[in-house]
Subunit: 415 residues, 2 copies
């Protein structure tokens, strides 16, 4: 059986790992990058806490011992379900079973021009771009010739207050008030304004209201201005326009929305109103048993709700592939995918986090350590775990960040 997997994010990678046991299959993993990226820690690369390589691991290294699995660094441009062929720029791959797990990209509600002004945080290039803007802003503030210019460079706007926005805001605050405190001569980084903007009534909307409240209090105690019920009307260079005011800021980051990979449309099947692929209980297309979609691209109905685009859904769907293939190979009926909700968590800063598991909700130091532990545990590879642990320990003890590099701007939009 020829199996092609598109994408090596949480869904694709775990699907491929599920297939390591089935040596009678022949598996091809196709990805645009040579690494699997641990997205939950991407904000730490954007804020100089970790190196890009600490949260990325080469895909082919994961499967070095699995001779029936091959990895291709290629970009998929077409999927022909009729002929059962995936086409890349250079090659085509035929399949008996296709697993599409190409994830999501930043979504600006149709304002494509906002992407360059307010980068999102989906890939490593996004992260190093935000890091560059963050630290260049301080350098420019240091040499600013007017107060207005200085204020603009010392204002940081984060749009969207899900976990990523909250985590960025907390890190930006720590950088301003701790890391850089004594580094400059003409500015006081303590005067930085960090503004977190959320269109909805509260931050962390997927959490219980009490945790949203706690997180907002934590952020405010760290000097972050939280604006809820606030809609962004327009983003210009160095300017965010709100309903009845505007903010001049040279660093703007976006985490207010994502949209499925364009491959969803290429599948020519039924999509939901957010552009996600509607799938059966075995993750297959409504009209095609030989194509499975999982992770952020998929709209899986769990009772009345659709499963959210989070890592644990993608991971569990990837792991479910083991059961599915077993059934397929034994020519039995495929079992249904069942999601087990392990809860969710977000970190705000040193000893500040919120955790929610079922009906249990907690925050503070214990939540923070739980967050650290879970993220270390899920990180791929012992090397990355050891390196991340070492850098966290160092940052914890010194209040500093190890990767304060300003690298050149990205050459092209990769969204």
């Amino acid at each position: 059986m020829k199996i092609v997997i598109i994408g090596a994010g949480f869904g694709g990678l775990n699907a491929a790992k599920s297939l390591t046991h089935f040596k009678q299959t022949s598996v091809t993993i196709i990805d645009r990058h040579n690494y699997h990226l641990f997205q939950p820690l991407l904000y730490q690369v954007a804020t100089a806490g970790l190196n890009p390589a600490d949260i990325a691991s080469p895909i082919r290294s994961q499967f070095r011992k699995d001779k029936h699995i091959e990895v291709r660094l290629e970009e998929v441009i077409d999927i022909d379900r009729h002929q059962k062929v995936v086409r890349t720029l250079e090659n085509s791959f035929s399949y008996d079973l296709l697993i599409v797990a190409a994830g999501a990209k930043n979504f600006y509600f149709g304002h494509h021009d906002w992407a360059a002004k307010a980068p999102g945080l989906k890939g490593l290039e996004d992260a190093t771009e935000i890091r560059r803007r963050l630290f260049v802003a301080y350098e420019n503030a240091e040499k600013a010739k007017t107060n207005a210019e200085k204020t603009m460079h010392l204002t940081f706007v984060l749009i969207g207050a899900g976990p990523t926005g909250v985590e960025l805001a907390g890190s930006f605050a720590e950088i301003a008030h701790q890391v850089l405190r004594t580094d400059f001569r003409h500015i006081n980084p303590d005067e930085s304004k960090i503004i977190l903007i959320e269109a909805g009534p509260r931050i962390l909307p997927s959490f219980k209201p009490q945790l949203s409240q706690k997180a907002q209090k934590d952020l405010e105690s760290m000097g972050v201005t939280v604006l809820t019920n606030t809609k962004v009307i327009q983003i210009n260079d160095n300017q965010v326009i709100l309903q009845d005011s505007s903010i001049e800021a040279s660093t703007i980051a976006w985490s207010a929305g994502v949209t499925p990979s364009p491959l969803a449309k290429i599948l020519k099947t039924e999509l939901d109103n957010k552009g996600r692929v509607l799938i059966n209980s075995d993750l297959s297309l409504k009209d095609d048993q030989s194509v499975l979609v999982l992770g952020d691209m998929a709209a899986f109905k769990d009772g009345e709700t659709i499963l959210p685009g989070v890592a644990s859904v993608a991971i569990q769907q990837g792991r479910y592939i083991k059961k599915l293939i077993k059934a397929d190979l034994e020519k039995k009926k495929r079992p249904s995918f069942k999601y087990f909700d392990k809860g969710q968590m977000a970190t705000i800063g040193r000893k500040k986090a919120v955790v929610q598991v079922g009906n249990i909700a907690f925050s503070g130091t214990i939540a923070w350590f739980a967050w650290l532990f879970v993220h270390l545990y899920y990180l791929i590879g012992m090397r990355n775990r050891a390196m991340v642990f070492a850098q966290w320990a160092w940052s914890y003890l010194t209040f500093r960040r190890g990767a304060r590099l300003i690298t050149p701007p990205r050459s092209s939009e990769d969204n």
Copy 2:
């Protein structure tokens, strides 16, 4: 006394550190990057052994406690010795004493177009570009459609066999024969051809002949083809043309020559035949006591020879600034700079290195550990030391490399 330092490499950084004691001075360090780069380990970034941030440290962090020292992220475009002013794109800085330590850049003997085809190894962007080409070559070999194409992607040419070329060649060999051994399905990385080309009669020409011989034997035992007395006539895309043959290779790296920063010419003073600034025994210009030049830009006559462009010369010249300023402040005669030759070393691979100190020469395991120790010792900052040590230990134990990221190509030439 207003002191301006251009460049925060080994020379400039150590000059600035010399000035931390003189609180009556006012010091401005100007650099194009926000970090000091530990160039001797740059080849390890190019070969995925270390992260960029491991060998770079933010300049302003070094001087956070020295209120009389400020750091500017700016690019110098002019030096007006008459008015005693340094001009950057955005500002101008007047000085009483100017220290120019802008280093060297890759030199292609007038063939500017070779730069894009065979990147050199002077900055972090060079290193990540070489890393990108190295790993993309294997990915392209894996999907090559003809044998000729495959062979081209699996051929790696390193031009110039000083320490950088030798260290790159050794690392390329380890990657081919150890790190990637089982990662591919359609190619055998073991078949890679790594070719080190040297125009002179032996590799490591600055070392004793017996060490050159030993290093060449070591490289050959690792599968590297060493071509001495071999001149490169032309470099095309994926092709190196020699006197009576040519090599098709998709990865070509250059370490055959450097030339002083263009600021040497801007000083409008006497240069030697290699474009370096001729200086007095106190590092000052022949015709200007208020301008000092040090490091790779300077031609310092030590007896009959000119000191080479190596880290230890720049470091010692930077440290000498302490004595010089003390004399200046006390209105005494400046002492002369004296170079103490601590010897030189190069590493070839695991437990393979050559060391030469005065008349003593040794190689092998002890030399390799000496190399590791000296490089850790000179690295700036405890964090970087700990991270580099941890990654070396990990690589030593696992025969793997932690930073195998393919990142986007650099946006522009930064040489």
